[in-house]
């Protein structure tokens, strides 16, 4: 097994799964009925993407594990998603700001992965880019409307961005896994993604009459299994049945 290749795909799968799990929390509780539908729809895309990526990660690992083994019987120290994905949903401004930052990241990432030397990853990216283009359109629209909406929504959106800004640098860190993926033309250089991402985000924030937060710290660790306190609670809910009744079919 190529351990770095496995971890690269696993990280993509974990990001999709953990963010998707967070998004489902809005089901039936959104501010508008239309948003109940839209949020469930986008969450479904993330869960679907997680299934493809985790199945493929399990295949690369070659130890007979399934997508569900990876999702439901790993501990938080074995999850390698970005911390940004696992933060609690907050208010609708926080939720949509996070979606936008990650949708934009995924948009540039999957655009590159379409031409990955890994054919399976390329095929997954071809499907994901269609969904992500639509997700980004929607979340950008929300950032604009809340940022340039009422005084209260402007304030909430600014607070949301400030609250998550320290977690954004983690998206562009480069470790030996990334270095090998770049060398094998499997994945893009995170630094390159960073410049594309930053340009889009800055333009949207400006258009939304908001200001780009100042980065004080860089909070990271998720990609090496070091998570926030929120992660254990997320997993205890998500993994409840598989942990209570190990080894059964559902």
């Amino acid at each position: 097994m190529n351990k770095n290749h496995y971890r690269y795909v696993l990280r993509l799968g974990d990001n999709a799964l953990i963010l998707g799990q967070r998004m489902t929390e809005w089901c039936g509780h959104s501010p508008l009925l239309e948003e109940d539908i839209a949020m469930a729809n986008c969450a479904l895309d993330h869960v679907g993407r997680a299934r493809l990526l985790l199945s493929y990660a399990a295949e690369l690992e070659g130890e007979g594990r399934s997508e569900d083994d990876l999702a439901f019987v790993r501990s938080d120290r074995e999850f390698e998603n970005f911390l940004l994905c696992e933060l609690p949903i907050g208010d609708y401004a926080f939720t949509m700001a996070r979606q936008y930052l990650l949708d934009t990241y995924h948009y540039h990432l999957f655009t590159e992965l379409v031409s990955s030397s890994d054919e399976t990853l390329s095929a997954i990216a071809q499907k994901a880019i269609k969904e992500t283009t639509y997700h980004m359109d929607r979340s950008r629209d929300w950032v604009l409307r809340l940022g340039d909406g009422s005084e209260e929504s402007h304030e909430r959106m600014q607070v949301a961005l400030e609250g998550m800004w320290n977690y954004t640098e983690e998206l562009f860190e480069r470790d030996p896994v990334d270095v090998q993926m770049i060398a094998e033309a499997i994945g893009p250089d995170p630094e390159w993604l960073h410049s594309k991402w930053q340009a889009d985000i800055n333009a949207t924030i400006k258009k939304a009459t908001l200001s780009v937060p100042e980065k004080k710290w860089s909070l990271s660790g998720g990609r090496n299994g070091l998570h926030t306190e929120a992660m254990g609670h997320l997993l205890s809910e998500m993994q409840h049945l598989q942990r209570t009744y190990p080894g059964l079919s559902w």
Partner: protein, 315 residues
């Protein structure tokens, strides 16, 4: 035939099994009756997201999570579709929603029962959606055009919902002892409330008679309930699960299953607010509405600002 009077024309359309459309004249009571029934139906779809939504975060596999998400998304879609259909009767979604939030309008009382285990998600699909389909297939022939057409579309999705619920039950019924017990327990808890979904006996039903005359309702509560029991007994047999009714037995003479008495006191209590989840369900909807207010205000401000600046640009 040309009718000089509106009532005569309306009666003739009903008699001829044709559809009343939004622009047609209709008796005020017919309109109000439909607003009540359609908005109640829409509210049921929206509140119905909550008991199953309770298990999306805990679905046991990623496949199940995706299916359940998709199903709950459908419910919200049905709600939206039904509110839109009801709006053709001259009432706004906001008015209808407000009636729900102040407790004036009802929703299906079944959603005031809690979903305690994963098997409850199966039981809701199999039994609750199964019962809804029996009712809704009948409503595909209802006399109000927009409602009838909505039902055709909704029935298609509901039949997928029912099948996914039955499939959950099948897997559990063939699973470990704990899973089988979970499935039986869910059937025990959901069976009677599901039979109550069809409403009071025909002799006791306040709204039924006029609704039948207007062909809003096409079959009586008791007919529909019987149909559901007849089809579900075989399905339970196939699963190897026991329906919790000692009086349930085939009646050769009637060609139907006989079943035991329904606890109408429980029904009345839950309808009036005394179920385990009545408060929580309404509270969840009120919270979503109240906490969503700043979002709605923001959308209005944005639209106002930008329609102004668009006008400025043109000028």
């Amino acid at each position: 035939m040309i009718f000089t009077d509106e009532q005569g024309q309306f009666d003739a359309i009903i008699e001829a099994e044709e559809k009343i459309e939004p622009r047609d004249w209709m008796p005020e009571k017919y309109r109000l009756n439909l607003v009540r029934q359609m908005s109640q139906h829409a509210h049921s779809e929206v509140v119905g997201q909550l008991p199953e939504g309770n298990w999306i975060g805990r679905a046991p596999t990623l496949r199940r999570k995706a299916i359940l998400l998709s199903k709950v998304q459908d419910e919200a879609g049905h709600g939206l579709y039904l509110y839109s259909a009801a709006e053709t009767l001259g009432v706004s979604r906001e008015e209808m929603m407000n009636d729900l939030l102040i407790g004036k309008a009802k929703y299906a009382s079944i959603f005031n029962y809690p979903t305690l285990t994963w098997a409850d998600v199966g039981a809701i699909g199999w039994l609750v959606d199964g019962a809804a389909i029996v009712n809704q297939i009948s409503l595909c022939r209802t006399s109000y055009g927009p409602y009838a057409r909505a039902m055709v579309k909704i029935c298609k999705e509901e039949s997928f919902h029912m099948r996914q619920g039955y499939e959950i039950m099948q897997v559990l019924a063939c699973g470990s002892a704990a899973q089988k017990a979970m499935a039986q327990d869910a059937l025990n808890r959901w069976w009677w409330p599901t039979l109550m979904m069809f409403g009071p006996h025909d002799s006791e039903s306040a709204n039924s008679q006029q609704s039948m005359k207007w062909k809003i309702k096409r079959q009586s509560n008791d007919e529909l309930r019987q149909k559901f029991v007849d089809q579900t007994v075989k399905q339970a047999d196939h699963l190897g699960l026991a329906i919790p009714d000692q009086d349930l037995k085939w009646n050769e003479e009637r060609g139907h299953y006989d079943f035991g008495p329904i606890d109408w006191e429980e029904f009345a209590r839950v309808v009036k607010g005394g179920g385990l989840c009545n408060d929580a369900r309404l509270e969840a909807r009120r919270t979503a509405n109240d906490e969503g207010q700043w979002v709605k205000d923001a959308l209005m401000s944005y639209a106002e600002k930008h329609s102004k600046s668009d006008v400025d640009q043109v000028a």
